[in-house]
C-alpha cells in the first residue's frame, strides 16, 4: 500500500519537475497586465506586493501632482503615485475598476493608481522586444515590449517606477 503511494507521489513529483523544466526551457516571464488610458502595461508579478481597492490617502505638500500623497497599508506609510498623471494623461475619477498596485523593489515600496487590471500574463522571453530606440535607454521606465496574441504590452521597470524623480 505504502509502496504504491510512494510510486504515485514519485510520479507526481517527476511530472512536476518536468513541468518546471519546460518552464525553464521556455524562459517564460510572468507579468501582471493593467490599463492606463488606452494602453496596456505590465510589471513582473514578483515585484507586486499586493493589489488593493482604492481608499483614502493624505495629501503631501511640495510634490509633483502625480504624487497623490501617502496612505496607510497595515501600519506602513506608503506613497501613492498616479500613473495617469505620471504618463501625462488627464486625471480621472476613481471608479469601481480603479486599483492601487503596491510594488516593491528592495526596500522601496509605493502604491500606483491604475485604471483597471487586465490579467496575469505568461509571455515567452522571445516574444519580448526591446524598448523602441527613440527612447533614451537609461532613463526610460520601459523594460521592453511584449507581444501576446494580437496585443502589444509595454513592460515597465519596477525599480524605475519606484525611483524618486523630482
Amino acid at each position: 500500500m505504502s509502496d504504491k503511494l510512494k510510486d504515485v507521489i514519485n510520479k507526481q513529483n517527476d511530472q512536476q519537475n518536468q513541468d518546471d523544466a519546460i518552464d525553464q526551457l521556455d524562459d517564460i516571464v510572468q507579468l501582471v497586465g493593467f490599463i492606463i488610458g488606452d494602453e496596456e502595461y505590465a510589471v513582473p508579478i514578483l515585484s507586486i506586493q499586493e493589489i488593493i481597492k482604492p481608499f483614502s490617502w493624505t495629501r503631501v505638500p511640495q510634490v509633483p501632482p502625480y504624487v497623490k500623497g501617502v496612505f496607510n497599508m497595515r501600519g506602513a506609510v506608503i506613497p501613492l503615485i498616479d500613473l495617469r498623471l505620471k504618463f501625462g494623461l488627464a486625471e480621472q475619477k476613481h471608479n469601481d475598476e480603479t486599483r492601487f498596485i503596491v510594488m516593491k523593489h528592495e526596500d522601496e515600496v509605493a502604491g500606483f493608481v491604475i485604471d483597471r487590471l487586465t490579467m496575469a500574463l505568461r509571455i515567452k522571453k522571445e516574444n519580448i522586444g526591446p524598448a523602441p530606440d527613440t527612447i533614451n535607454s537609461d532613463d526610460t521606465l520601459i523594460d521592453g515590449v511584449g507581444q501576446e496574441e494580437d496585443r502589444i504590452i509595454t513592460i515597465l521597470k519596477p525599480d524605475k517606477l519606484l525611483e524618486r524623480d523630482f
Binding site: W57, T58, G75, V77
Partner: protein, 796 residues
C-alpha cells in the same frame, strides 16, 4: 572560526568598556598620583587587554599594552611618579589602544596602526626612571612587593619574560604558597573560633574581605607577609582582572541585540496606534448607544488596555535607556587635554550622570556636547591671568549636569567664564552679513545669544584647533534639533554662560498637538508648542507684508499653516482662528490653524526614501481612524515662514467664480434629492419629473456630502429630509455651508417635523425653505423652480 569570532566580539565589548572607564580614571589619577586604587585599576585594564589580545594573536596590541603595563606597574610600586608629561605619553598610548581596538572591530586584525613611536616613548620613561625592560628586571619588583602594597599581580609582568620552565616552576611555587596560605588562614579562623566553610574562600572573597588599602585585617595577617603574590596562581598570567575586583553588587543583566529592542519598540508603536484607534471607536460607540449596559464593560476594557499599553510602552522605553554618564565619561579627559593645550586652568564638575536617555539619543548627543564644551573652554573660560585680574579664581569651572524635567531631559553646561557680549555678537554678525542693521537693533539679548548658532558665525578672534574646526555651533543646533531638542542660552558678562539642551526622552513616540486646516490635519510636536490662543481675525495686523499679532506685550509674527502646506481653501475660516505659538529656543512663531483637534500620543513613521526631504514635514503618523497624518517639522517650518507671503486676511472669493453656466435647457438644472425612504424619493421625483430637471438621489447625509464633494454635478438646489441615518439633515446642511462654493446653494428641507424649534434649527443650519410632508406635487415643484430661478420658457 565562529568560535574565534565570538571570543573576539566578547573581547571587544569588554575592552571598549574598560577603556571608556580608563579615561576617567587616568585624569583623576593625575590630580591624585598617590591613589593606589586608581593605579591598580588602570594597570589591570592594560593587563587584561594585553592578556586577551595575546591570546587572540593581536601582536601589535599586545606589544603596546605590554609596554604600558610596564610603566603602570612601576608607578604602582612607587618607582615612578606620574608627572603630566608621563601622563601625556600614557594617554597617547591609550588613544592608540582605542584606535587598535577599533581597527580590530572593523577588520578583525590589528595591522596598520603604527605603535612604534609611542612604544619608544614609553620605553624612554621606563628606561629613564627605573629598570629597563629585560628579563633581569624580573627580580626588581620583588623588593617592592614586600612594601605595604600587597597586590596580587606584582609578578605578572615577569611571566612574560620568563622561560617556559621558569613559569612552570613559578606556578608550582605559587600553588604551594597558596595552599599553605589557605591552611594558615583556616587555622587562623579556627583559632578565632569561626566556622570554616567547606570550600576555601576564593581569592575574590579574600580580597573583598580585605579593605583595599593596607593594613591587612587581623585574620589574614599571619599569612600575608610571607606570600607576596600569594593569591595569584590560578590566573595563569592572563586573567588578572577578575581576581582583584572589589566584590561588586552582582548585576543581573543580559546583553540584548539592539535590533531586537528596536523591533520591540516598533511593535509597541503599532500597539499604541491600535490603542488610539480603540479609544476612538469606543467614543463613537458610546455616542451611538448611550445608556446601554454593555458600554460600561467596554469602557473598562478599553481603559485597561490603554493603561497597560502605556505602561508597556514605558517599560520597553526603559530597556533602551542608557545613563547619560556614558557620554559624560569622555569629558574629564577632554578637559584635561584642552587645559594643557590652551594653558588654562579648568575644572569640570559632573553631576546627574545617572540620568537616563534613549540609546539612540545618547549616541547622537556626544558630538554636540563635545562642541559646546570645547567652546566653553576656548571662548568662555579666560586665561588664568585674566581671571586673576578680574578677581575671579584662577581655575575656571565648567559644570556639566543632567536632570529630568517632565517628559524631557535637560543637559546643562555652565561655565564661569567671560560670558557672551551682546554688542560684540551683533557687530560680528553685522560684519559677516548674517544680520542687517535693523535686525540688530530690534534684537533682544536672548536672540543675540542665538546668533552663535547661525551658520558662518565664529567668535574666536583666531581660529584655534580647539573650536575652529570648520564646523560651527550651527552644527550643534542642527544636531540637537534633529533629536527634537532645543537649546536655551543664558549669559552674563564676566559671570558666565549657561546652555540648556532640552531633549525628549525618546524619539519614536511623542506627544503631539493635532490641528486642522480646511479638511486636513497636521500633528505638531507638543514640545515645541508654548501655548494656543483663540483670536478674532481683526486682531491680525499686517506689517510690511507680514502678518503679526500682539500677544500680551510681545509682537508675534504669524503664518497660516495653509500657506506653508499649499492647502486649497475651500472652507471659509470664519471670524475666529486659533494661533499655535511655537517656540524654539529664542525663536517664536504664531501658526494660524482653523481648528484645534486635541492632544494625542503619536508614533513617528518615516515617509520613506521616495518622499524624504519634504520641507516642513518631519514624518507621518497613523491615527485612530486608520488615516495618515503628517507631522510638522517645527524647525523647518520656522525657516519656511520667513519666506511665505502673508495671505491671512485675503478673502477666498476666487472660488465663487466657478459660476453657474448659462442654462439652455431644463435638464441643465440639477437637483439632489436626499431622503432615506425610497418612497419619499420617488414621490419627489414624480413631482419634479414634469419640468424636466436632472435629478440625483442620495439615501443619507453622508452619501449626499460625498456626491457633492466629488463634483461630478453642479447642483442648483438640494431637497433634504431631516430624519436620516448616518448624518441627519441639519448636520448635512451645516457641513455643506462650510464650503465657500456652496454658500449660495439653496437647501430645501422636506420633512414631517413641523415644530417651531425644528424650523428654527433648519434656518440656523442654512436651509432656505421648509416644506412639511405631506405636500402637493405642484407646491414642491414651484418652490424648487423659485429657488433655482427656473426659466419659464423651459416649461412646456
Amino acid at each position: 572560526m565562529d568560535e574565534f569570532q565570538e571570543i573576539l566580539q566578547d573581547f571587544l565589548v569588554e575592552s571598549f568598556e574598560l577603556v571608556e572607564k580608563l579615561d576617567e580614571d587616568l585624569v583623576e589619577l593625575e590630580s591624585n598620583p598617590e591613589d593606589l586604587e586608581l593605579l591598580n585599576g588602570i594597570f589591570r585594564v592594560a593587563h587584561t587587554v594585553k592578556g586577551a589580545s595575546s591570546f587572540l594573536n593581536m601582536d601589535v596590541l599586545t606589544h603596546l599594552t605590554h609596554h604600558m603595563e610596564n610603566i603602570l606597574n612601576k608607578a604602582r610600586h612607587g618607582d615612578l611618579i606620574i608627572t603630566p608629561d608621563i601622563m601625556d605619553v600614557i594617554l597617547e598610548s591609550i588613544d592608540l589602544m582605542k584606535k587598535l581596538l577599533e581597527t580590530i572591530r572593523d577588520t578583525s586584525s590589528d595591522a596598520g596602526v603604527d605603535v612604534a613611536g609611542c612604544v619608544a616613548r614609553l620605553d624612554k620613561i621606563d628606561g629613564g626612571d627605573g629598570n629597563i625592560d629585560t628579563p633581569e628586571a624580573a627580580p626588581a619588583p620583588e623588593p617592592v612587593a614586600a612594601a605595604p602594597v600587597d597586590e596580587p599581580e606584582e609578578d605578572e609582568l615577569d611571566y612574560d619574560n620568563m622561560s617556559d620552565d621558569d613559569v612552570e616552576a613559578e606556578i608550582a611555587r605559587l600553588l604551594d604558597q597558596r595552599q599553605s596560605e589557605d591552611r594558615a588562614k583556616r587555622e587562623a579562623k579556627i583559632a578565632a573560633g569561626e566556622s570554616v566553610p567547606e570550600a576555601p574562600p576564593s581569592p575574590d572573597e579574600v580580597k573583598a574581605a580585605t579593605p583595599p588599602p593596607p593594613p591587612p585585617p587581623p585574620p589574614a595577617a599571619p599569612a600575608r607577609p610571607s606570600e607576596p603574590s600569594g593569591d595569584k596562581p590560578n590566573s595563569g598570567g592572563s586573567k588578572a582582572a577578575p581576581a582583584t575586583k572589589k566584590a561588586p553588587a552582582v548585576e543581573q543583566t543580559i546583553r540584548v541585540d539592539v535590533k531586537r529592542l528596536d523591533h520591540l519598540m516598533n511593535l509597541i508603536g503599532e500597539l499604541v496606534l491600535a490603542k488610539n484607534r480603540l479609544i476612538k471607536i469606543n467614543d463613537d460607540v458610546e455616542e451611538r448607544y448611550e445608556g446601554e449596559e454593555f458600554l460600561e464593560e467596554l469602557n473598562q476594557v478599553v481603559s485597561i488596555v490603554s493603561l497597560v499599553t502605556t505602561d508597556l510602552q514605558i517599560a520597553v522605553m526603559k530597556t533602551r535607556m542608557l545613563p547619560v554618564g556614558k557620554v559624560f565619561n569622555k569629558f574629564p579627559r577632554m578637559i584635561r587635554d584642552l587645559t594643557r593645550e590652551l594653558n588654562k586652568k579648568i575644572e569640570l564638575e559632573i553631576s546627574g550622570e545617572d540620568t537616563e536617555l534613549d540609546k539612540s539619543i545618547v549616541e547622537e548627543i556626544g558630538d554636540p556636547l563635545v562642541h559646546i564644551i570645547r567652546n566653553s573652554c576656548d571662548h568662555g573660560i579666560e586665561n588664568p591671568e585674566d581671571r586673576l585680574a578680574k578677581g575671579k579664581e584662577e581655575t575656571g569651572t565648567i559644570k556639566l549636569k543632567a536632570y529630568n524635567e517632565g517628559n524631557q531631559i535637560v543637559i546643562q553646561i555652565d561655565d564661569d567664564g567671560k560670558g557672551l557680549d551682546v554688542d560684540m555678537l551683533k557687530n560680528k554678525s553685522l560684519e559677516k552679513g548674517i544680520i542687517t542693521e535693523k535686525e540688530a537693533d530690534q534684537m533682544s539679548d536672548k536672540e543675540a545669544f542665538g546668533l552663535i548658532f547661525r551658520p558662518g558665525f565664529s567668535t574666536a578672534a583666531q581660529v584655534t584647533n580647539v573650536s575652529g574646526r570648520g564646523v560651527g555651533m550651527d552644527v550643534v543646533k542642527t544636531n540637537i534639533e534633529k533629536l527634537n531638542g532645543i537649546i536655551d542660552i543664558d549669559s552674563e558678562i564676566d559671570v558666565g554662560t549657561s546652555m540648556k539642551l532640552k531633549i525628549p526622552l525618546t524619539l519614536a513616540i511623542i506627544q503631539a498637538l493635532l490641528v486642522g486646516v480646511q479638511e486636513e490635519a497636521y500633528a505638531i510636536p507638543l514640545a515645541s508648542v508654548m501655548e494656543t490662543v483663540r483670536i478674532s481675525t481683526d486682531e491680525i495686523y499686517t506689517v510690511e507684508g507680514r502678518s503679526v499679532m500682539r500677544l500680551r506685550d510681545e509682537v508675534l509674527s504669524l503664518v497660516h499653516i495653509g500657506d506653508i502646506f499649499e492647502v486649497e481653501r475651500i472652507i471659509d475660516g470664519g471670524e475666529h482662528a486659533y494661533v499655535v505659538v511655537l517656540g524654539l529656543g529664542a525663536q517664536k512663531l504664531g501658526l494660524i490653524v482653523d481648528t484645534l483637534v486635541g492632544q494625542e500620543e503619536i508614533v513617528i513613521k518615516s515617509l520613506g526614501e521616495y518622499l524624504k526631504g519634504i520641507d516642513g514635514i518631519a514624518g507621518a503618523t497613523i491615527r485612530g481612524d486608520g488615516g495618515v497624518t503628517l507631522i510638522v517639522d517645527v524647525v523647518a517650518l520656522m525657516d519656511i515662514a520667513k519666506s511665505v507671503k502673508s495671505s491671512v486676511n485675503k478673502s477666498s472669493s476666487s472660488s465663487e467664480k466657478a459660476a453657474t453656466k448659462e442654462k439652455t435647457q431644463a435638464s441643465d438644472y440639477t437637483i439632489m434629492i436626499v431622503d432615506d425612504s425610497k418612497t419619499d424619493r420617488t414621490i419627489m421625483r414624480k413631482a419634479l419629473g414634469p419640468i424636466g430637471v436632472t435629478l440625483v438621489e442620495a439615501s443619507d447625509g453622508q452619501e449626499a456630502l460625498n456626491i457633492l464633494k466629488q463634483g461630478d454635478h453642479q447642483f442648483d438646489a438640494m431637497l433634504i429630509d431631516i430624519e436620516m441615518p448616518r448624518m441627519d439633515g441639519y448636520t448635512l446642511a451645516t457641513e455643506i455651508k462650510k464650503y465657500n462654493r456652496y454658500k449660495n446653494l439653496p437647501l430645501i428641507a422636506v420633512t414631517s417635523r413641523t415644530g417651531k424649534s425644528d424650523r428654527m434649527r433648519g434656518v440656523e443650519s442654512g436651509m432656505v425653505e421648509y416644506i412639511t410632508k405631506p405636500y402637493s406635487a405642484d407646491y414642491l415643484s414651484s418652490v424648487v423652480q423659485r429657488n433655482v430661478n427656473f426659466k419659464s420658457e423651459f416649461l412646456s
